[in-house]
């Protein structure tokens, strides 16, 4: 079955959506992501949707849900690289995705994640990465 890969980068998880999302794929991703956050103790999730060209309200809600679930699991979420057409569609659908952090590209998204995470007590980079 088709799956969207979730890559681990240090204390962050990187999700790159390269294919058009259908509903089952989105549900699978949601399952995978929550279990990965749990397993790795990741503190940040970066969702790259720069290749995503078609969205509907379901996918929009999935993005909001994933962000909310990550927050419950103590991980910050940043959605990066949204295409103009996708942004316009979501706004026209009335989904402003309040509470989701966004950035223009992966680089800026990483910076944003790092800047909004306070250093963990009693841990340094090596521990978190290892």
């Amino acid at each position: 079955m088709e799956r969207i890969p979730i890559l681990r980068m240090g204390e962050f998880l990187l999700v790159t959506i390269q294919v058009d999302m259908h509903d089952q794929l989105a549900l699978t991703l949601q399952d995978d992501l929550t279990s990965q956050i749990n397993a790795t103790g990741a503190r940040g999730v970066l969702i790259d949707i720069s290749s995503l060209e078609v969205v509907d309200s379901f996918i929009g809600r999935m993005l909001a849900n994933m962000s909310a679930m990550s927050r419950v699991l103590d991980a910050q979420t940043v959605v990066v690289g949204m295409q103009p057409a996708v942004a316009i569609t979501l706004v026209e659908l009335g989904m402003s995705l309040e509470g989701i952090r966004t950035a223009l590209n992966v680089d800026k998204g990483m910076d944003l994640l790092r800047s909004c995470l306070p250093p963990r007590l009693g841990e340094d980079e090596e521990d978190a990465a290892g």
């Binding site: 690289g81 295409q83 706004v91 026209e92 966004t102 223009l104 590209n105 800026k108």
Partner: protein
């Protein structure tokens, strides 16, 4: 019959027609009068030739006549003549033509009636054609101006690395907002800018619809990861926004573009400072 009548009285017709044109004051100056003389004589010659083979104004035989009239009508349309003035040019030909027909067929009542009808129909058709071209020319002018206004009104300029400005001028309707929104978002992707300043100094009125359009644009930009600042809010507009109960909470607003730019620079992590040695030549 008509072509022969025109052929026999060509000089006379032209002279009387020009007199009619003058009497109806169709031309504004002597230059146009001279131009009209040339066009009129050419028109008569072509009309005579066309009529001898056909009487269908839309047909191929009348191509030259139509072209001549279209040129005249088009140039008049661009110069701002009214449709009536343009059409009078061709309608003023009726009087001389009827006079010529009467002279030829004065005693033949039946022939006179039928030729007059033919001539009248011909002139009416040509007149209508002139009106149509005139109308079309004016419509072209209007649609061109609309297009120009559309393009004129949505420039997205880069102020600094990572800072865009969108100076809005004129009333915002749904169609324009769509264009503005698309060009802003497109430019954000192209330049990788974090901050966009939307300056509404040139927007005459802000109602709930305009405010909603602005908020949509800002939300879309935020979804892409860029922040928007609204600047150039005039006192009256600030009052209107509050009276209308529009919620601009969560959107940064500044009074002037300068303030917004200063804030954007600060957010990008730059500072602007005065060179201490200003006024002295700077050694590089």
């Amino acid at each position: 019959m008509l072509p022969q009548i025109i052929a026999r009285h060509e000089g006379e017709l032209l002279a009387q027609w020009l007199q009619e044109q003058k009497a109806n004051s169709i031309h504004q100056d002597s230059g146009q009068e001279a131009e009209a003389r040339q066009i009129s004589s050419e028109f008569l010659r072509n009309l005579k030739n066309s009529l001898s083979s056909s009487s269908d104004v839309q047909g191929a035989e009348f191509a030259l006549v139509r072209e001549l009239l279209a040129d005249l009508s088009r140039s008049r349309g661009v110069q701002g003549y009214s449709p009536a003035q343009t059409a009078t040019y061709i309608f003023s030909f009726k009087k001389p033509l009827f006079a010529a027909i009467k002279k030829e067929l004065g005693n033949n009542a039946e022939g006179l009636a039928s030729e007059t009808w033919n001539a009248s129909e011909l002139i009416d058709k040509l007149g209508l054609f002139t009106m149509e071209v005139h109308q079309k020319t004016r419509e072209e002018v209007i649609s061109r101006q609309q297009q120009e206004m559309m393009e004129l009104s949505t420039p997205v300029v880069k102020l600094w690395s990572g800072i865009l400005a969108l100076p809005l001028i004129g009333t915002l309707d749904s169609e324009r907002t769509q264009v503005v929104m698309e060009s802003l978002l497109q430019k954000i992707v192209q330049t990788g800018s974090d901050i966009a300043i939307i300056d509404i100094t040139g927007v005459p009125t802000v109602d709930t619809l305009v405010a909603q359009h602005l908020l949509k644009t800002i939300t879309a930009a935020r979804l892409m990861g860029a922040e928007c600042i609204i600047s150039g809010i005039r006192p009256q507009i600030a009052q209107t926004i509050v009276h209308l109960g529009v919620d601009l909470g969560g959107v940064t607003t500044k009074a002037s573009l300068a303030d917004a730019f200063a804030m954007a620079i600060q957010k990008r992590g730059f500072t602007v400072s005065k060179i201490k040695s200003a006024g002295l030549p700077v050694a590089m």
